[in-house]
Amino acid sequence: MTSHPKNKDQHIDQSEINASGNESDTKTQEDTTSSSVNARPIITQSETKTFENTELKLESGATLSPFTIAYESYGTLNADKSNAILVCHALTGDQYAASKHPVTGKEGWWEILVGPGKPIDTDKYFVICTNVIGGCMGSTGPASINPETGKTYGLEFPVITIGDMVKAQVHLIDSLGIDQLFCVIGGSMGGMQVLQWASKYSARVFSAIPIATAARHSSQNIAFHEVGRQAVMADPEWKGGRYLEEKTNPRKGLAVARMAAHITYLSDEALHSKFGRNLQEREKITFGFDADFQVESYLRHQGFRFVDRFDANSYLYITRAMDYFDLFAEHNGILAGAFQNTKTRFCVVSFTSDWLFPTRDSRQIVHALTANAANVSFVDIASEKGHDAFLLDEPEMISAIRGFISAGAKQKGLSASGIQKDPS
């Protein structure tokens, strides 16, 4: 790999970058010079595209129209539109993969992978990250206004699926004039979207990187989601889902849901090595129900930080979408049927301590792909960090993804055909 000069003064002219189409666009542009991680600014666009006259037909039979997709893009689409990478976010993620979060002010959730000189190199690729349908960061979701009533949808919002999320993304990719995505990548629920893309739209996916994911949501995972939903719905401030109109906020319920879920993202070893039985700013236990232990304090903090940036109803809808995901069932119980005659290159990634989406789930995907003699790589990364490892600095994951993506670019001839050269 080439090394990247650190050029902080570089000015990027963004006036040339413009998306066209009949859809109404609102657009903000900004130079993201996020301090420590990326020394060089990324060409970042924050966009909200509303599809006014397009019907999004959902798997439930319902229709969403109009619908809006909020997304971030990084880098520049090349002339033949062959260098696009779609990054799919997880359950509580959003489109801010490599740009500052507007609510929390934190840096992007996947800057470990996305940025100049990173494996998903924003100097080379046009990187798109959309907020999923059902989300709460600008894409149409339960907090949006229902055009039929003029009020927020709340529980009138139709139940959406992973397939629906991807279908909405397909509309966006179409509107950008992109025939084939160079790569679709994502972890956890993002990985489900990757599998859905590769299965349903395989000709439009040159390469796919499903990370820490499964082709169907397990019974245990559905169970955890149900606990989270019940916690939200048990909060009196939830008001049957109409809290926005009632001007209440089911913060406590959503925080408990997050706390329970957060445990599943870690691992016994990770919790033990991070907290052990250490006490929180005290010498001894208090014989009460304060957060005596550091791990309690940590979880409470995680819970309450989460509710500031996430909508409770979105949490219900998106967890449901994951529960319903089952690529086996869609192919009469045989997963191999999902990838028949696929030409897509796959890199499947799992982590040894991930008990939410254990390695065996990834292995099932790999077996289904080999049954089709598909081009597949599979790395199981030794990590004690649990499911969350896919968001963290795991050098083996990063080098595997870097190797896989650059080999794909070579195979697709991307290095030769109009990838933006280093502008310095």
Partner: protein, 212 residues
């Protein structure tokens, strides 16, 4: 750091059996390398024969290393995972210095010929004179620079000689398209010498097989 490592790996000497295997494979072929290690052969074939290569490797560490080099490799076991592949999905299935470590070499060989049009198998020849000499003279299981493990910690559980392997090919009705043996210096032995000499002087053998 890793760049240096990669460079060293590319510059390091290429295994003798890999060179012979390379010579047997036609350009642009679809190749499955079973027990591919860190992907050295796949890399060689990708660079010089432009093959569409895949690998299976039992060691996760090797797999991660190979994937980081941009190779399509999965973690798996020759004994249990070949059944997942459809018939005739590759032009060549390669088993280089791996068959002696499989639990059921006969089944594995049959799987190779099911998955691919051609199977290429390289293996250390247990009939080599040095090995015979160690058993004869010292009465001990042989330990050589190529087979450095003691009998109790070796992954190699099914050694065979060139003659043994030729017999197995007959048993499973495989056609020997080409058979090459190399001596301790990596030099190919002449075609004109009789089989028993190959079996005595060949340190490693490479067989190209097809289904009869």
């Amino acid at each position: 750091m890793s760049n240096n490592q990669e460079q060293q790996n590319t510059l390091s000497t290429i295994r003798h059996d890999h060179l012979i295997i390379k010579s047997m494979i036609s350009p642009n072929a679809r190749v499955l390398d079973i027990g591919c290690g860190d992907g050295a052969l796949l890399e060689l074939l990708r660079e010089e024969k432009n093959v569409d290569g895949r690998g299976i490797e039992i060691s996760q560490k090797n797999v991660n290393h190979a994937v980081a080099k941009g190779l399509s490799v999965i973690q798996g076991d020759a004994d249990s995972d070949l059944v997942n592949y459809p018939d005739k999905s590759f032009d060549y299935a390669v088993l280089s210095l791996t068959i002696q470590a499989t639990k059921n070499p006969k089944l594995v060989l049959e799987q190779l010929l099911r998955i691919a049009d051609y199977a290429i198998v390289s293996f250390p020849n247990f009939g080599h004179w040095k090995i015979r000499w160690q058993i004869l003279a010292f009465g001990r299981m042989p330990v050589t620079d190529k087979l450095p493990e003691q009998w109790y910690d070796t992954p190699n559980i099914h050694f065979c000689t060139v003659k043994d392997f030729a017999t197995l090919c007959k048993t499973i009705n495989a056609k020997v398209e080409e058979a090459i043996t190399i001596n301790g210096y990596g030099k190919e032995l002449s075609d004109n010498i009789p089989l028993f000499v190959h079996n005595l002087l060949g340190r490693e053998a490479v067989f190209l097989l097809s289904k009869n």
